[in-house]
Structure formats: structure tokens, C-alpha cells
């Protein structure tokens, strides 16, 4: 195994340990000495390092698949989600009723961002899959 693969595996391990810690209740313990923005920054730093290592390890065909998937799938997924949200709000101007878990404006924004981001990721996954299926 080369150095880059080892680094990716190490970051994987850190991510898995973090996820297990959160799932199995170590989170409240950590929470006593780590404030939320620090956790967020740690998560972002981990994601950036992981993405950078994976990107450098993959070959040009795999990179091309990701670029195509983000441009076409991500853009159109995001656009479709925005159009869907606008259409939904036009049908019912009470967004808190449309998005059942929303109570405050800030959570409406979170819902909107989640829906748009989720749709972009879904579009990305579709285009990525189709890209590889067409080049089998």
C-alpha cells in the first residue's frame, strides 16, 4: 500500500472513530470541552483532507466522472429543488405547514438548504452512475 492510500485509510479511521463516538454516546463527554464551532471546523478540516487525498489518488477518468457529475447532476438537481420549492410555496404560502418540522424561520432556511443540497447530491449520484454505465 502506498503512502497516499495509508493516509486515506488513516483519515477513514479518524472519521469512523468520530462517527462511532457520536453514535454511542461519547458525544456528550466531548461536548463538555469542545464547542460547536470547533467541532464543525474539525469536521470540515477532516472532509477537506479526505477529499484532497482521494482526489489526488484517483485517475483522470474517475476525476472526469466526478467533474461531470457535479456540473450536470449537481447543477440540475439544485435547480430542480429550487423550482420545486418555489412551486410548493406558491401552492401553499405557509411554509411551516409544508415542511412539517419547521417552526422558526432559521429552520426553514435549514430545510431549504438541506433540500437543495440533497437534490444536488442526488443529481450528482445519478449522473455519476450514468457516466460510468455508458463507459463500461
Amino acid at each position: 500500500m502506498d503512502r497516499r492510500t495509508w493516509s486515506i485509510q488513516a483519515l477513514n479511521a479518524v472519521g469512523i472513530v468520530g462517527a462511532v463516538a457520536i453514535i454511542f454516546g461519547l458525544y456528550p463527554v466531548f461536548r463538555r470541552w469542545i464547542d460547536f464551532p470547533v467541532e464543525l471546523l474539525m469536521g470540515v478540516a477532516w472532509a477537506l483532507a479526505f477529499a484532497a487525498l482521494v482526489w489526488r489518488k484517483m485517475d483522470e477518468t474517475a476525476r472526469e466522472a466526478h467533474k461531470n457529475a457535479w456540473f450536470w447532476g449537481g447543477s440540475f438537481g439544485f435547480l430542480l429543488a429550487l423550482l420545486g420549492l418555489i412551486a410548493a410555496f406558491r401552492m401553499d404560502p405557509r411554509p411551516a405547514l409544508l415542511l412539517r418540522f419547521s417552526r422558526q424561520p432559521v429552520w426553514l432556511m435549514v430545510d431549504g438548504a438541506t433540500i437543495a443540497g440533497g437534490a444536488a447530491c442526488a443529481g450528482y449520484a445519478v449522473v455519476w452512475t450514468v457516466w460510468w454505465l455508458r463507459r463500461r
Binding site: 485517475d59 477518468t61 474517475a62 463507459r135
Partner: protein, 65 residues
């Protein structure tokens, strides 16, 4: 873009995995290039040409000539 990658590979009795390892790419990439479904970048085309010890234009044809 057409290419002679499959022929050159067969002459050396290499599998797609063998060629992929020599080029430091995935087997899926070799397959995509071989079947003309993906055009390699210039650096990868040069790498392929060096590996087979042939000029690029002897391996890849753009179909218009």
C-alpha cells in the same frame, strides 16, 4: 476517437488490468479508452505512447483523417 490500444495490448499478451497497472490508472479507465468511450488527456496519451514505444498518432486516430 479510434485507437489501437486493444491490438497493442493483445500483441504483448497483457490483460486490461496489466495495462492499467503499467499506466497507473484503473482497469475501468483502460476499458473506456480502448472502446473509444473516453479520450485520454495529453499526458496520459504520451504515457501510453511511451509505454508502447510508438508515436501518439500511430496509436490514436481522430477519425477525420
Amino acid at each position: 476517437m479510434k485507437n489501437r490500444l486493444k491490438v497493442l495490448r493483445a500483441e504483448r499478451d497483457w490483460s486490461q488490468a496489466d495495462l492499467a497497472q503499467r499506466l497507473d490508472v484503473s482497469r475501468q479507465s483502460v476499458n473506456a479508452i480502448e472502446t473509444g468511450k473516453y479520450d485520454p488527456s495529453l499526458p496520459l496519451a504520451f504515457k501510453i505512447a511511451r509505454l508502447f514505444n510508438q508515436p501518439i498518432e500511430a496509436i490514436f486516430q481522430d477519425g477525420t483523417t
